[in-house]
Amino acid sequence: MAKTYGWAGKILRVNLSTETITTEDTLKYADFIGGMGLGYKIMWDEVPAGTKAYDPANKIIFAVGPFTGTGIPCSSRTNITSLMPTHNHLIGDSHMGGHFAAELKFAGWDGIIIEGKASRPVWLRIENDKVSIESAQRLWGQGTFQTTADICALMGAEAQVATIGPAGENMVNQSIIITGGSHSAGGHGGVLGSKNLKAIGVKGTLPVHLACDRQAFLEMDRYLMSLIGSNNQHVVPSSPQPWAEFYNPRTRWTARKGLYWGAANPPVETGECPPDDMNSVGLRCHKAVFDHGDIAEAYTVRMGGCHSCPIRCQSTLEVPEAEQYGVSRYASNTCVGWSFPRSIMIKGYKDGSTGRGTKEALIATVVSRNLADDYGLWCNYNQISRDFKYAYEKGILKNVLPQEEYESIPWDKLEAGDPSFLHEFYRRICLKIGEFSHLGDGSYIISRRWNFGQDYYDDPQWRLWSPLGFPQHHSSETAGQVGALINVMFNRDAQCHSHVNFTGSGLPIEIQKEIAGELWGSPDALDAPADYTPMNKYKAKFAKFAILRNILHDSLTLCNWMWPMQVSPLKERNYRGDTALEAKFFSLVTGIEKSESELDQDAERIFTLHRAMTVKQMGTVDMRNKHDLISNYVFDRDPDKKPFTPGTIKMDRDDMELAKTLFYEEMGWDPQTGAPTRSCLERLGLKDVADELETLGLLPS
């Protein structure tokens, strides 16, 4: 095979039914880049409409891209594409960080296509081009931590493992695939379980070739590092510091004098980390205090994260008291990876406190995190805790559970804030014990099975963004219509951070608006928080940019919690970043010259293919009214206030319909239905997709 640059050049195809292993050429998919693009293309080509998530005919694709393993900062993401185990089995993707992606590349693979179903539990072993299907008889039934340890015992400590836990094995809809003990991809664990595939272990020793000379790569890397901020590309520290013109307590640049990784030995002071100090980039984000409050400082061992990422956004805590509940005193995670396990204790903690910020909350969080990760349960972006809270507080659980089952659950422990309750919560859901276990089915299914009231979709406290059953994820509370549009476009919670990174950067609104004007055509692309204005075409451009960059990152692969570099911490650049960096690195690494707009068009192709597949799966072109739905609370909150008045994030229904129209027009989709048109599909090189949709009667007229 000819030498390839960036890409490894090979994709692994594993048929678990026939136990055959074959190889394909990555570059036939070059128009789809890799990662998510590769996944969507294969799913379009090979998985017929009407297939369900747990059918053997479903496939699951683990894919990386030309940036993975090159050392480009924040480039170790694995994208996983398959049907989502929800009521409608639509296509979706999940992602995990850690080191698995890079290791897969070092083994010489750009992706793994898994199809069929094994006749008995197996795991996949990859060591460079030596690939085998191994018996998982001994692994099946184990938690993810032990499975990882067992596979590493066989392959070596340097192996990277992606595994499911009992939740995935039992095809709990809300299951994860997890790597490195704390980096999880939510939603597809059950698909692996349906295929009897317990885990993938990978070890690689091959190089990743770059088309450019090393000096050119290093210079581009140094340039990028000069622009990089802290987690979520926040570019302003959270406290006043001598080097900084601005500060914002809500940014993730939390380092300051007197703030420590307190449980490290000796403790490590984060200190003031000016942007020109490359040695302190990894200290900028003390994520533990950001996620848990100041209480976490004393329990923080260190920050961790992914291969080739300087940011280190995962905090590792040591909370000795967790051991009395039968779990490790150590746990690592970030963001909702902490707020979800904490939220399961819906009645608060032993000391009577609720919410975060106390030691008891921390203990419960570590216990819950360990159980969630080991069992392999997914939270649906924390919606599972709200499903549970609603069902419990409204008396629904008491009604729907058989009396014997209800009485067997230690509700007194929940009421008392005793973390030992959590064992029952996770055990019952992940081992599918009793009616209670249906909490793992997903919000759409459980709200119907247990007859939740309409208020579950109408009351903002439950955060159920879509009537299709997924929660808000940086939605209208982030840049109004822009966040709202992003949240309707996917088949699950949006997982897009391009826009919230920008609005949360910490810069004053006037500077943000100036930059918005440069990037999306007018300062009117961005509203001040809680001071929204009616929709305009610039907001549609902002939403399109945010989504396409998310798609691009999940295909290259890059971390969308850091990229794109819309802003920087540098006053001498007027805080501007460089949104052409993806294209610059692409040209260097692959040797294929692409401009920023050309690479964005590749992303547009991938996202439009996602849309086309959704149309095909739903059997309708009427995406506006059947798919791009928004729950009532978004429009009906703050009843004493009107939309577009200061002090509310309330949206307007007519305005959102206009927003959809303008977005559809930006994408070249039919402005009425929101379905891709033939001309759009052909412009993007997807004529075959257009032809197929036409034969199915699914092109808009």
């Binding site: 406290s239 006043p240 510091q241 001598p242 080097w243 900084a244 013109e245 601005f246 914002n248 307590p249 809500r250 300051r256 004098k257 007197g258 703030l259 003031e272 963001c335 909702v336 707020s339 919410g355 972006y381 924390n382 509370e477 982030t478 004053p508 609104i509 001040a528 928080p529 809680a530 001071d531 200061p646 002090g647 509310t648 994030i649």
Partner: protein, 181 residues
């Protein structure tokens, strides 16, 4: 014509100011007359006057307190930080907190999380902060400084010269509750 000795002194003074600014500290005249520099006070004052009139030291800036001047390098310390440091040095907590709150409400705009004042560079103990807030009540000079509480009981301050109550309430609810994931 300046002597080489004069120029040497100016360079030492400038270096000292820059080094201290890098650490987040002002330089007062007194800091230059004690060890290790041990310069003559009159000489230091003359140097500083000449430096401010010269274009050789454009980064050396001065802010004036009630009784003395404070020098810093704006290459190593921003003017906005210097303004905060001035109030801290002068132990003028009333003005310090009000200026921070007004600046936050005007520039970003956002209410100010009072937890910020417990941390560097402020390090104001809780009881002292309570005293300051109590002194604002009924004081016309600070009548614009208002308090607002989120539904999770987090307390913020804002200036109603620049931020309305309804906006302040909405912003802290967004920050504390709606954006907590």
């Amino acid at each position: 014509m300046l002597s080489r000795q004069d120029n040497d002194v100016k360079e030492k003074v400038a270096e000292t100011i820059r080094a201290r600014s890098l650490k987040g500290r002002f330089t007062k005249v007194n800091d230059l007359t004690i060890e290790p520099l041990s310069l003559d006070e009159e000489q230091v004052r003359a140097c500083l006057r000449e430096m401010s009139a010269s274009d050789r030291y454009p980064d050396i800036q001065c802010v004036s307190g009630k009784n003395q001047d404070y020098f810093f390098s704006n290459r190593e310390m921003t003017t906005s930080y210097a303004q905060i440091l001035l109030r801290i040095e002068e132990k003028d907590l009333l003005t310090l907190i009000a200026e921070v709150v007004r600046n936050d409400s005007k520039v970003y705009p956002r209410p100010t999380d009072i937890r910020v004042f417990a941390r560097n560079p402020f390090l104001i103990p809780e009881n002292l902060l309570k005293d300051v807030l109590a002194q604002y009540r009924g004081n016309d000079e600070f009548s614009d400084i208002k308090q607002v509480t989120a539904s999770n009981e987090a307390i913020y301050l804002y200036s109603d010269r620049y931020l309305s109550k309804v906006k302040a309430e909405a912003l802290i609810e967004l920050t504390e509750v709606l954006e907590d994931e």
